[in-house]
């Protein structure tokens, strides 16, 4: 590198502009690949973008904190996006009210399964307590999960990573799991994906059909509530045993 290029790099690497720009570039590049592959669930754009960004930061020796200075502007929008879920919820309200009982049953069963199975499996395989508490809220969208992790004694930033892992794996495997169970109704498929794998699963459901997407948004929103309320109860039971 000539001194001039090095100077520019020093300047840019200290500015939030670079972190924000490469996040948008990586995501759009990943989305382009995903679309070229006919939305193959195994080429999940979030996963591809994360791999590209981690590789780029690793090669340039940029610490995560420096990157996050810029990327936080994208991260921040998770809060307003959670509030925005009220809009599709309200738009679907009549259909939802008609399905109130199946939705409530699926929500309770799915939410307890998501919490109980992740803590149980990780505990059986020997994960430590702070990892278990960080894993517990993994199925709900990031700001909610991080809030819950903080309240129950997990590590919020680790929870954020586990939430993304859950979302990506749900978006990648949902088609195969639901096909194997021969579940064809797009409302049921969407609700299950959104409940288990929040916003990344919901984004995937919207790419399949609008009906699946709306139900996924509902599953994600309701499970955010259910997990926040059920978590203290589940943990009290867990500690009691």
């Amino acid at each position: 590198m000539t001194p001039r290029v090095a100077d520019i790099w020093v300047y840019l690497s200290a500015s939030p502009l670079l972190g924000l720009t490469i996040t948008l570039l990586a995501y759009q590049g990943a989305y382009w690949i995903y679309r070229r592959a006919n939305f193959n669930p195994l080429l999940n754009p979030v996963l591809l973008a994360i791999i590209m960004l981690v590789a780029a930061l690793h090669v340039t020796g940029t610490p995560y904190a420096t990157y996050f200075d810029g990327a936080q502007f994208v991260h921040f929008l998770l809060g307003p996006a959670t509030v925005a879920l009220a809009v599709p919820l309200y738009a679907q309200f009549d259909r939802l009210r008609a399905l109130a009982l199946p939705l409530a049953g699926a929500l309770l069963a799915g939410s307890l399964t998501a919490i109980g199975s992740v803590v149980g499996i990780a505990w059986l395989l020997g994960a430590g307590e702070s990892t278990l508490l960080s894993l517990a809220p993994k199925s709900v969208t990031a700001p909610i999960a991080m809030g819950i992790a903080e309240k129950i004694g997990g590590i919020p930033s680790l929870t954020a990573v586990l939430v993304v892992m859950t979302g990506v794996s749900g978006a990648m495997m949902a088609k195969y799991v639901l096909d194997a169970l021969r579940i064809r109704d797009h409302g049921v498929r969407g609700f299950a994906v959104g409940l288990a794998s929040h916003g990344i699963g919901t984004a995937r459901a919207f790419q399949v059909s609008e009906q699946a997407g709306a139900f996924a948004g509902l599953g994600m929103g309701l499970n955010g509530f259910a997990t926040a309320i059920l978590m203290p109860l589940v943990l009290a039971l867990w500690r009691w045993f």
Partner: protein, 130 residues
């Protein structure tokens, strides 16, 4: 309506302000009442209730909300890149973490789909084909 573009911008700005305002109110309520739920969730509930009370959604609010939700998966990328910070923990406990996340996600999808389908069948006999 001489400046439709400017009007659209102003209303989109208004819609974004509404979302932030509800989040802010949610955060304040959570702090004051020491609720176990995060602020944006309370904000979502309050926005839902006020839409329900008004019985309609303003067009700019719907467009802005749909715009943000369309790019929902982008918003998770910065948090996901944080895996590099937790790499030592994740690699030390990679087997329990990966197995638990994958299995539990598959189980949660399967259980919620099966329960919902069973309850729909139980009610209208013919099942929820669409």
């Amino acid at each position: 309506m001489g400046f439709p573009i400017a009007a659209a911008e102003v209303t989109m700005l208004g819609a974004l302000t509404v979302l932030l305002l509800y989040q802010l109110i949610g955060e304040v309520i959570v702090q004051f009442a020491r609720l176990p739920v995060p602020g944006p969730v309370v904000g979502m509930l309050l926005l839902f209730l006020s839409l329900w009370a008004r019985r309609r959604i303003a067009e700019p609010l719907r467009d802005t909300a749909n715009g943000i939700l369309q790019h929902l998966s982008l918003l998770f990328v910065p948090a996901g890149v944080g895996v590099m910070v937790h790499f030592s923990r994740v690699s030390g406990e990679w087997l329990p973490i990966l197995a638990a996340v994958l299995l539990s996600t598959a189980l949660a999808i399967a259980v919620s789909a099966l329960v919902m389908q069973a309850l729909m069948r139980g009610r209208n006999g013919a099942g929820g084909r669409q």
